[in-house]
Point group: C2
Chain length 393, copies 2
C-alpha cells in the first residue's frame, strides 16, 4: 500500500487541531520522505488515561498510520521529585517502583490507541539524571524571565500576586530539553501545552536542530460540561472502564456537550438529522467499540436500553446495597447507598438537590421531598441518578 503524498497528508494530520506552528514547516518535513519523530510527554504521577488524553493519542495514531514514529517521553525524573513544596497533591513524589508500575499501566492503555510497533519509549531520567548544577545554569541561560511570564497561567498568577516558585520555571525548560534530546520533529499535546512545546522549538533552534512542529489539540470538556475532563474532578470516562459503565457515562452528557464531543471523541461530524437520543446512543456505542470492540458495544447498548430507556430497571444487574431493617431519612439512605455501593462521597446538600431535581426514585416512584422517610426492604430498587442505582439486599 502506498502512502498519501505530503500534500494529501497535511490536511489529514492537522484536522481537528487547535493550533499549529507551522503548516509550511510540517509540509517541508513530510516532504523529506522519512518517518517523522512525533513526541508526546506523559506524567507518570497520573497513569489513568481518559477520553481527554485520547484526543491527542488518536492524533498520534493518525501519524503512525501514515508511517510516522511515536516518541513517548515518560517524565520519570520529575516524578521521582514530585512537587518540592509538597503543596500540590497532583505531583506527589513517586518511588521508582511506583513509576515503573504507572508506566506499565499507562502503556497498557495507550496501546489500545497507538501502535506499539511504531513507538519509541524514552525516560527523561536518561539525561536529567546526569545533570550538574553547571548544566542547569547553562540550560537556564537560554530562556529569559519575561518570555516565561508570557505563559498564560504564569502571567495571570503574577499579575494577581499569586506566588510562582522558581521551580515552576524549570518544568517548561525541562520539557523543551526533552525535545532536543529525542530530536523531535513534531510535538503533540493539549492546548494547555502550547507554551511549553514552543520552548522546545526555541531550545532546538538554539542547538542547531530544525525546530519541531508544534500541534496542540483542543481540550475535551468533562461529563459536567463545565470543566476540562480530569480525574481529580471525577468528570471523566477512563478508557479502561467497563463497557457498561463507559456507555452509561457517555449517555449522561448534555446534548450540547454531545455535539462538541462528536469530532473530538469519535472523529465524526455530528449528524443533525438524528434525534439527540439516537445520536447520543450512537456516540456511546462508538466509544465503547473503540476500547472494547463491537460485541461489547452491542451488549452495552442493549443493557442501557433495558435499564433506562425502557425504564425496566428491575432486570438489570444492579449493585447490592445492604440496608438495615429500619426507617431512613431519604437523604441518609441515598448518602449510604452512594458510599457503600459506589465509594462516592456526596454531600447532603448535593443529595438534597438531586431529590429536588427529581433524580431519585424508590421502588419505581420519583420522590421529590427531601424530608421523605423510607423503610427499605430487600429487592427494592433505589435509583440515585442517571448512572447509579442499587438493589436493597
Amino acid at each position: 500500500m502506498s502512502l498519501p503524498s505530503p500534500q494529501e497528508q497535511l490536511p489529514l494530520l492537522t484536522s481537528g487541531s487547535n493550533h499549529l506552528v507551522s503548516a509550511p514547516e510540517l509540509l517541508k518535513k513530510l516532504s523529506e520522505n522519512r518517518p517523522l519523530r512525533v513526541k508526546l510527554g506523559f506524567d507518570p504521577s497520573s497513569p489513568d488515561i481518559h477520553l481527554g488524553h485520547a484526543v491527542t493519542l488518536r492524533k498520534v495514531r493518525q501519524f503512525q498510520d501514515l508511517g510516522h514514529l511515536a516518541v513517548i517521553i515518560i517524565g520519570d525524573y520529575t516524578a521521582m521529585i514530585g512537587d518540592p513544596t509538597g503543596r500540590s497533591k497532583t505531583r506527589p513524589a513517586l518511588s521508582p517502583e511506583q513509576i515503573a508500575e504507572n508506566a506499565r499501566t499507562y502503556q497498557d492503555q495507550i496501546f489500545k490507541i497507538i501502535d506499539p510497533a511504531k513507538t519509541e519509549i524514552r525516560r527523561n531520567s536518561e539525561w536529567f539524571g546526569q545533570f550538574s548544577y553547571a548544566d542547569v545554569l547553562k540550560l537556564n541561560s537560554r530562556m529569559n524571565v519575561a518570555r516565561m511570564l508570557e505563559r498564560d497561567d504564569f502571567k495571570k498568577r503574577f499579575e494577581a500576586g499569586v506566588g510562582i516558585t522558581l521551580t515552576e520555571f524549570q518544568y517548561p525548560l525541562m520539557q523543551g530539553y526533552d525535545s532536543v534530546m529525542v530530536r523531535a520533529d513534531v510535538e503533540l499535546g493539549g492546548n494547555d501545552q502550547l507554551f511549553n512545546n514552543l520552548v522546545g522549538r526555541d531550545l532546538q533552534k538554539d542547538d542547531g536542530q530544525e525546530p519541531q512542529v508544534v500541534m496542540v489539540m483542543p481540550i475535551l470538556q468533562g461529563l459536567d460540561g463545565q470543566n476540562k475532563m480530569s480525574k481529580s474532578l471525577d468528570n471523566y470516562i477512563g478508557i479502561s472502564e467497563p463497557a457498561i459503565q463507559m456507555f452509561g457515562k457517555a449517555m449522561s452528557v448534555s446534548d450540547e456537550l454531545m455535539v462538541q464531543w462528536h469530532p473530538m471523541v469519535i472523529g465524526e461530524t455530528y449528524n443533525t438529522e438524528r434525534h439527540p437520543m439516537q445520536a447520543k446512543k450512537h456516540m456511546a456505542f462508538r466509544i465503547v467499540e473503540q476500547y472494547h470492540g463491537k460485541d461489547a458495544a452491542v451488549s452495552a447498548l442493549a443493557d442501557f436500553e433495558t435499564r433506562f430507556s425502557k425504564k425496566d430497571i428491575i432486570h438489570a444487574d444492579l449493585p447490592q446495597f445492604a440496608a438495615e431493617a429500619r426507617e431512613y431519612g431519604l437523604i441518609e439512605l441515598a448518602e449510604a447507598a452512594y458510599k457503600n455501593s459506589f465509594e462516592i462521597t456526596k454531600s447532603r446538600g448535593d443529595i438534597r438537590k438531586l431529590i429536588q431535581q427529581g433524580s431519585i426514585q424508590f421502588a419505581g416512584e420519583k420522590i421529590t421531598d427531601p424530608a421523605a422517610r423510607i423503610t427499605p426492604k430487600p429487592g427494592d430498587i433505589l435509583r440515585l441518578d442517571k448512572t447509579h442505582a442499587v438493589r436493597v439486599s
Copy 2:
C-alpha cells in the same frame, strides 16, 4: 584582655554601615558569648582588591578584633562556569588553575587587612559540585518569582524590557545557600549585595537555622567622584599598588570626595579645622600607612612634597621619556609621553583640556596654548598632571 560587652560591641560593629537587619538580632547573637561566623563572599574572576573592597574587609577585621571568625566563601563553582551566555566580560569561565591563582592573589591581599588566624576559607564547589537537577529544583522551590523581581536591578530591567536570563535568578539563590552551608551568623557586603544577602536569611529560616544578620556597607566612590570604585573604570586605588602611586592617587581626589572618603577609607571623621590640602595629605598618609606601614608613608609624603608641593620636580625619580631630537606640537608630545612612559592612551581632546587648565608644564614653565611647539632636550621635565611627569632622555 577582656572583650567589650555585647552592648559595647554593637555600636562599634554597626558604625559606618548602610543597612542592618537587624540590631536586636545582632545583639542577641553577641550575647551568646561565642565567636560569630562572619561571612563574606569573593568572586575569583576579579582578584584585585581596591579601597572599595577594603571598606567591607575593614569591617570584617573589626569583628575579628572583637573575637569573631571570618568565613570567606570563594565562589569557585560559579567561576568555573562563567557567564553561560558568554556575553559578560566580567564573568569569564576560569580554569581550576586560574581560580587557584586568583584565590591565592586574593588571600595575599585580604590578609593585609584581616587576620588569617581568625579566618576560615571555603569553596562553594564543596556543595554545588554535588548538586543534581533534583537538588536544584528543591532549592528553587524555596524562592518565588515576584520576590526575585523585587531586586532593584532585576525590577528595572524587567520594567524596561531588558532580558533577564533564568540563570541570573540562580545566583542569589546560590549565594543564599552558601550561608546555609557555612551556618553564617552575619553576612557582610557592599550595599549592592543587600538583596542577595537577605535571600540567605530566607533560606536559613526555611532550614530551621537562626537567620544571619545582614549588614551592608556604603559603596565607595572612585577617584573620578562619579562612579563606584571599580577596576574596569580605572578609577581605583589597589591595596597592593606601590606606596608613591597610592599616595599620588589619593592626593588627586576632589576636596568633596576626600570628605566622603575619610570615614570609609581611614575610619576617621573629617576634621573641618584642617586646611583641605593638609587634610588630604593626612588621608593619603593614613592610606599608605595601612597597606605599607609608617615608614613607607613618611617617604611617600616626602616624595610628594618634593615633586609637587614644593614644585622642585627636578630631584624626583621620574620615568624617562625618549623624545626625538626635533620640534613637537605640545599635544603630540604629551600624548607620546603618556603612552610611552605610562601606557596611558589619552585623546587629543583630553590633552587639549589639560593644557587649557594649566596642568602641563615644560622645563618649569606652565604652557596654556594648545598650539605651542616645543623642541625637547635630554634632562627637560615635562609635567603632565598631578601624578604624572617625565624626564626627557
